[in-house]
Symmetry: C2
Subunit: 226 residues, 2 copies
């Protein structure tokens, strides 16, 4: 039997510019710069910093670069190409998307943002394809976890564990490995409650999402003999 | 004695837009879009694809996103913060730069490109600082290798080695770990000749630069007990 593992990026800092910000000068300026209507723009702190002033939980929002790098790492490993690793990501509005193993993601952030805007609007890309590369699999994290298996959360306040132990447990228990893909602040209570285990892999030191991803991928490659 | 390791990104696809392209429509358009004069723009294939048609070795050029992601990974590990890992990168014009361990790189590609333009023009950033975070350490790779130690090259056509063996040898021999940071094609002959060992870590499969980086960082963290 072939071991397989699910990796899920949680609360990814990825969303369209909220409608109430469409008339903000920052937003109008970036819409003009990229020749994209505001309704198809991804919220990006480095472009919409001022516009975001009044947003709630703004410290978790507007960082599409995080999920971009995490997905680039997770889809470039031999694990994904061999179908041993399944890659999913959850966004702040609750939806969960699957990234097919043969997806070649845009390397450039601006192009990635374009694809993500299509995805958030249409629930799948390429838009209208009968055989999409990235597509919605759940409307909520709760639904996803109930269907796909137990969730192990990587969390700097969790129980200390070595990355290889986390990987071992995920394989043995057929659990989902959950990694936060937001810049700061903590997981939502609703996310924390869904996890059956919460582990810290760097002795409680905060790590960037891509570093956590990279460390776990590496242990998976080792464990699965690649 | 504390083990320490040098990681060097080679032939990084990072340069200013060459002067002869300053009047190309692509270049003028991106200069206007970002409000940056053409002489301070980083060559970027996703913006300057047409302008790059006639460039020699164009398949290796115009991908600043590669070194961006590699440096984000290499500077976010506890290894760098503890001073165990030294991070360098070499660009196509031959210069080698050091990234100080307390550097917080811009997360967003466009901002990173801005900093890199300053660096390529002034040889150090912040520009004019007596205590720069990123600065030139050599004018050529040859000079760098002669001074800093033997070079182990990660090369898909090299001898097969497991990542942990590469790391072990780099520590024992006090060798520099060299990783290509360009999109396609091979190392220059001049680079290959400078390496005393050339190893393939994925059985000859090509891996993205950031995946090679991530795999080696992980083995370093393991080996150095982090």
């Amino acid at each position: 039997m072939k071991a397989s593992v699910k990796m899920l990026f949680l609360e990814s800092s990825l969303e369209l510019v909220p409608r109430e910000l469409h008339r903000e000068p920052d937003v109008i300026r970036s819409a003009r710069r990229y020749e994209i209507p505001p309704a198809r723009l991804i919220l990006d702190k480095s472009l919409h910093y001022k516009a975001m002033r009044g947003l709630e939980r703004k410290w978790k929002r507007g960082r599409p670069d995080i999920i971009h790098i995490c997905l680039l790492l997770a889809t470039d490993t031999p694990l994904t190409r061999m179908g041993v690793l399944e890659v999913y990501f959850h966004v702040l509005d609750g939806r969960v998307f699957k990234v097919r193993s043969d997806t070649r993601l845009p390397r450039h952030l601006e192009r990635f943002k374009g694809v993500m805007a299509d995805l958030l609007i249409s629930d799948s890309v390429p838009v209208g394809s009968p055989d999409p590369l990235i597509f919605k699999v759940s409307d909520s994290l709760e639904e996803f976890v109930a269907r796909e298996g137990k969730l192990i959360l990587l969390w700097e306040k969790g129980e200390p564990r070595r990355p290889e132990e986390v990987v071992e447990e995920a394989i043995e228990e057929n659990a989902i490995i959950g990694i936060g893909a937001f810049p700061r602040g903590d997981f939502e209570e609703t996310t924390l409650r869904l996890a059956y285990k919460r582990y810290a892999i760097a002795g409680g030191h905060p790590l960037a999402a891509w570093s956590v991803t990279s460390r776990l991928l590496c242990e998976l490659e080792r464990r699965l003999g690649i």
